[in-house]
């Protein structure tokens, strides 16, 4: 599963995307654990040390256009993106 990284996630990981060795569909917790393993630099600033959530205001959007719904799983074709949105300058 390919995960696109933007903003701080990309700066910390040093790559624009990572590929996770996951079969879909995958639950959010498993997704974050795999992401932390593939890009350890994302912990703790992007992925919480508990590995079960992203640190605000980082967020996960599917194909850059919608958030994960409660209980929803992630599939490869969802094109998950980790973004950092805070702005206002």
């Amino acid at each position: 599963m390919k995960v696109e990284l933007y903003g701080m996630a990309r700066a910390l990981a040093g790559v624009a995307h990572v590929t996770l060795p996951l079969d879909d569909p995958v639950a959010l917790n498993d997704f974050l654990r795999a992401l932390a393993e593939a890009a350890p630099a994302l912990v703790p600033d992007v992925i919480a040390p508990s590995l079960d959530a992203l640190v605000e205001p980082n967020l996960l959007l599917l194909d850059g256009r919608r958030a994960l719904r409660a209980g929803e799983t992630i599939r490869c074709e969802d094109n998950p993106c980790v973004l950092f949105l805070a702005s206002g300058g």
């Binding site: 696109e4 700066a11 992007v46 205001p57 805070a86 300058g89």
Partner: protein, 605 residues
Amino acid sequence: MRTEPRPHTAAGTYAGPRELLQVNLSTRTWLRASLTDEVFADALGGVGLAVRLIDERVRGPIDPLGAENPIVFAAGPFASTPVPAANKHALATISPLTGLLNEGLSSSHFSAVLRRCGLAALVITGVADEWTTLAIDGDQIRFEDASPLVGLSAREAAKSLRAAYGDRSLRVCAIGAAGERGVRFASVENDGRQAGRGGTGAVFGAKRLKAVALRGKGEVSIADPRATAALSAALRERALGPKTAKYRVLGTGANLRVLQRMGQLPTRNFTAAQFEGAENVTPERARESNGTYLELRAGCAGCPVQCEHLYVRKERDRRAAAASEYESVWAFGPNCGVDDLDAVLDAIARCDELGLDTISTGSAIAFAMECAQHDLVPRSAFGAELRFGNAAVLLPAIDAIAERRAGLGDLLADGVRAAARRIGRGAERFAMHCKGLELPGYEPRALPTYALGLATCTRGACHNRAATYDRDLRDPSAERDDAARALDAIAAEDRAIAWDSLVLCKFVRDCFDDFETEAAALWSAVSGLPLDAGGLRAAAQRTWERKRAINARLGWSLDDDTLPERLFAEPVAGGPHAGRRVDPEYLRALRAEYESLRASSAAFV
């Protein structure tokens, strides 16, 4: 609709500087007064205080470029205290661009010294006979000849004044050539920071006020120094954590890649929402260039974040380095279809030198490019061909606007709304503004709450006053009912007022667990006036009511709370949100919900 705010009374003694200095440039006179505890309890400071002072003085229609239009500086109540990210002040006037209230913010040393001069606020009216520097030197007020400064940039003017005073600690707020010539989106600069939007620089120019120079070394009292120190230390620590990492490491320019991916990046004057050349102009590219660009860092006095990232090619003079803030890069990059980072950085630097708001300037050029595409203005107006994507036209166009050069330069210097009216022949459909203020760099057709916020914002299309994009961007496809969106828009507006009245930098907004409670505690510790979360919300609401009351007196009506026609008529072309547009009936319903909730505003207090 209520048009007058509810009063508020104080239950304590305000600890900070409380002097109001009123200066009349026509008569070269001034008046000092002491603001009461009730004023601070009612309006807090910053934008809240500036809006209250405008409200007391603007009781009907006025000419924004006339003598009676007041310029109000109101210090942030945490300036010159240990509170981090808070050396800020508000700068309010009636905008020559919109004809409505304009309240901007600036920051750094000038804000701190304003309070060290004993001032809570400074109100300037009248018109000077000659170009003038208003010098506030401790207790002394002087009207100094500014004719040697005419034509200089704000930075050069400050340097010249410091040399003349022999004092490098002199703090100066000044305009550049664009303000002198009355460009209606001219900015005001101090310490390298700009109050950019709405044309306050043109109001300075109309008053022949080139600069305000401050020198003050007075103590700023704090009601509870121990509590203030503890709260400030906790905020400072959080402001150095992951919640502000983006600003510290990357700067706001990092939004460009994100918004491009999300299909939310307005391109070529909002004719598209993704830009094929976005990767070429993202400031991250300069950062990742392995030494091609030199990166410089800057920030406001007393701020741990130091958010500003400036870039210049390594072989060039570092004084040519340009700030790479998202809105500025967007305005000259994607919005003009330009994919040349050097050209974009040079355009930003030129605007800072001339004293121009980058958002409005880039939008004016993008508007002209589209007009040229439809043969409404000459393509050769600025020498280089006026067309989307032509980087070579940016600097000549900026210079022509700043000089108000006869023809298109002069036309664009009045903003896109006025320019479109004068061009006619359908040019209005290319003028991207709300109430005369040009749109910032987010795509409203894919962000419904943000679209509502832009329409209702008292300042016009300001993303920092109607900061509703945050909520939308977290889930752009979320289905939400009208009432929820209207509530979000109101909450975002009122929260922005609270931030801007305290005045805290919005870049530390995620550093609070419970902003209203914690910010109210900070206010109480610094000021000595009790405040809780509900009181802070009520103060923000009072200021919003004043803003709208001022605008109503200036001729605003509910019909003005709308969006550019393009956003209704033309769907997003391509990208994840292809086909989306703002349904006028939907916006009407959201506005009705918004008005209904505002009318029953006791629910928010």
